[in-house]
């Protein structure tokens, strides 16, 4: 009797669980459908809804990047749908969380595939991207990562990217420091736990040798948890560099600027695209960012018309200034649109591999004028565009003038 009770209880629990999970599934499907409905209101689609899968960290320490990509992509999709869609199809986004974890990213990829995604805009961060690119290659799905910058993130022929690769940033930074700024004694602070930062650092060191730049002090820290940079700054101060290179993200850079100013040092700082966002991060201490130089494809204060309309739309929708990740995602969606048009894909229900092959060819033939610059792609998946040298003066990014 007791056993029977137990079995019944377990069965009931199991039913509840199943009900709970299926409820989750349902609600997710309804949100995607709802988004579709919204766009349908703008224009009734004949070719159906073309589902773009997205993967990136929506929770966890890297969530800021995933959320930015999701929002940037959504803005582009809404704009495109409002303007009538692509080849008679409306676009929709199915964005899944990977918590910046390779294993969860592969699970997320299976989810978007099950939900019917035809192309992948992702993943946002490099480490998960290196895992997912293997899966998209197996399935022949077209993959365009807005911001996965490590070399292996796009190692197959079906994968492309919007952002610069880590090596190209390192090389470009060394050339810029020597040729445009004329400095030869450089100190570096980099994050050795991060592929982005250490990738740029390694290429920077290699190119510095070619350029005849002396790296007087190379200081590392590990992880975004690190908050104390005093020791690194003392060591750098002793090495007397002409400029300090920061191939890191803006959160850590903000702390470095604050601690450096508190200790009374007067360094010149130079960084890559990861520094974009530093003015907002410093909030009340924004004056500390004065004179910081960076090489970046996107600056939100760029007066160009397309940049300003994107920044305004983003600000109206989410109440904040878009960062470079949002811009990359925005350009990513427009690139997918341009490639769909080039490949003349009109059927949203076509086979994933068929679409993938067509888009991989089409992207090589197009040029996209995006908010991150004028982009063309090469067969290795890299996007050719020129980084702009910017300096922060009076709280806004302005082009460096010699």
């Amino acid at each position: 009797m007791k056993n029977l009770k137990r079995i019944i209880a377990m069965l009931m629990a199991a039913t509840l669980m199943v009900a709970a999970f299926s409820a989750c599934g349902d609600s997710q499907e309804t949100t995607t459908a709802a988004q579709g409905d919204e766009s349908n209101r703008a224009k009734t689609a004949e070719g159906g809804t073309f589902l773009i899968g997205g993967i990136g960290p929506l929770t966890g320490p890297a969530a800021v990047y995933g959320i930015a990509v999701q929002r940037g992509a959504q803005i582009a999709i809404d704009e495109i749908n409002a303007a009538g869609g692509v080849n008679g199809m409306t676009l929709a986004l199915d964005f899944q969380d990977d918590e910046h974890d390779a294993e969860k990213a592969v699970n997320a990829y299976n989810t978007i595939k099950d939900n019917g995604a035809k192309v992948l805009l992702g993943t946002v961060t490099s480490t998960p991207c290196e895992a997912v690119v293997e899966k998209t290659y197996e399935d022949g799905m077209f993959q365009l990562t807005p911001s996965g910058s490590s070399v292996n993130a796009i190692c197959h022929e079906n994968a492309f990217r919007i952002c610069f690769s880590d090596p190209s940033q390192g090389t470009a930074a060394a050339q810029y420091i020597k040729e445009n700024l004329g400095y030869t004694k450089v100190a570096v602070i980099y994050d050795n736990s991060d592929v982005y930062s250490s990738g740029i650092y390694e290429k920077f060191v290699a190119e510095a040798q070619v350029q005849g730049i002396e790296i007087v002090s190379a200081q590392a820290f590990s992880g975004a948890d690190n908050k104390d940079f005093n020791t690194q700054l003392i060591a750098i101060n002793n090495a007397q560099p002409e400029i300090v290179f920061l191939p890191i993200y803006y959160q850590a850079a903000a702390l470095i600027l604050q601690q450096s100013s508190k200790a009374g040092y007067n360094f010149k700082f130079f960084g890559c695209d990861g520094l974009d966002g530093i003015i907002g991060q410093l909030e009340g201490d924004a004056a500390l960012a004065e004179g910081v130089m960076l090489l970046t494809p996107f600056v939100s204060d760029d007066p160009a018309e397309n940049v300003q309309s994107f920044v305004q739309a983003y600000q109206a929708a989410y109440g904040e200034i878009p960062n470079q990740f949002a811009a990359d995602a925005y350009d990513g969606v427009y690139t997918i649109k341009a490639a769909l048009e080039q490949a003349q894909i009109t059927d949203a229900s076509a086979d994933v591999r068929e679409i993938g092959t067509a888009l991989s060819e089409a992207i090589l033939q197009i040029t996209v004028e995006g908010v991150t610059g004028t982009m063309k792609w090469t067969e290795d998946g890299e996007c050719a565009k020129t980084p702009k040298g910017m300096v922060i003066s009076n709280g806004v990014y302005t082009a460096i003038t010699q």
Binding site: T59, V64, D228, D285
Partner: protein, 290 residues
């Protein structure tokens, strides 16, 4: 040079010491590792941030509000998450503490978003220069506050009635109950004080390293745990000295060995302490009763 490195190690260590005090206090009395302690620090930081930056309150409003709020949070956490497990195995409580830690992190993520924010220092003491080396005002306040807390806690535990109850509970919970001590109330009080200390640590940490995010408490929490183990977990002066020593070791290894290996060296210290002297610098040797 060496002095500069040493002083910056002391400022880092003072923060660890302050966090370690809360860890060690809760462990000493309730005999449980409260892994959510680091996240209560984050809560304290966010409350102070909201009061001072978002609502524009004065520094004192922010400090007192944050301490009161964290004390309440500590009591609620203890009531909801730990009290029902009073007779469960230690492992179950430990895992619950990790659960609480994740819960607080994700709650902060929901409320405040994933972007970290710039925290305006609540300490208005200027930088002090000693020769070429500089000491930020926050460090002086942190060390002063830590010493005051150590003295205060020692006095409270050794002189007051509630303190005596705490000692009794820590020595033998069953016997204390038989002697008419309200064990639940005593443990609740311990958590209240521990979380109040976490709020102070949170405010001072965010003042010194002016940034706050949902994961701000995680790594300092772990480092402070190492400091508490190093100093002898359960020992209040041990936590203070352990914290400062860990901070100095971390910074000197950054400066003279390798800036890449400093975290590894800190964790090696934890392993070495556990292997060579598991009770830490000031820890009491526990007698196992047969």
């Amino acid at each position: 040079m060496f002095i500069s490195y040493l002083l910056s190690g002391v400022s880092l260590g003072a923060i660890y010491a302050l966090i370690a005090l809360g860890y060690t206090m809760v462990y000493g009395i309730a005999k449980m590792l409260n892994f959510a302690h680091g996240d209560v620090i984050m809560v304290g930081g966010y409350v102070a941030f909201t009061l001072s930056v978002t609502l524009g309150g004065s520094a004192w409003v922010a400090i007192i509000g944050s301490i009161v709020f964290c004390t309440l949070v500590g009591i609620v956490i203890e009531k909801v998450a730990y009290k029902p497990l009073r007779s469960a195995s230690k492992l179950a409580v430990l895992i619950t503490a990790i659960g609480v830690s994740y819960f607080l992190q994700n709650l902060a993520l929901l409320i405040f978003g994933s972007n970290s924010r710039n925290f305006q220092s609540l300490v208005s003491i200027p930088v002090i220069s000693i020769g070429q080396a500089t000491v930020p005002g926050e460090t002086i306040v942190t060390i002063g506050v830590s010493i005051l807390i150590v003295i205060g806690l020692m006095l409270f535990i050794n002189k007051s009635k509630s303190g005596a109850a705490m000692l009794a509970v820590s020595e033998d919970r069953g016997a204390a109950e038989l002697m008419g001590i309200n064990v639940n109330k005593t443990i609740s009080l311990t958590f209240a004080i521990g979380s109040g200390l976490a709020a102070i640590a949170g405010i001072l940490m965010c003042s010194q390293y002016p940034m706050i995010g949902p994961y701000t408490g995680q790594m300092p929490g772990i480092k402070a745990f190492i400091a508490a183990v190093f100093g002898g977990i359960g020992s209040i002066p041990g936590a203070m000295i352990g914290g400062v020593v860990i901070g100095i070791i971390e910074n000197l290894s950054k400066a003279y060995i390798s800036s890449q290996l400093s975290d590894a060296i800190t964790f090696v210290i934890l392993i070495l302490t556990l292997v060579i002297k598991p009770t830490g610098l000031f820890g009491k040797k526990l007698k196992e009763k047969v």
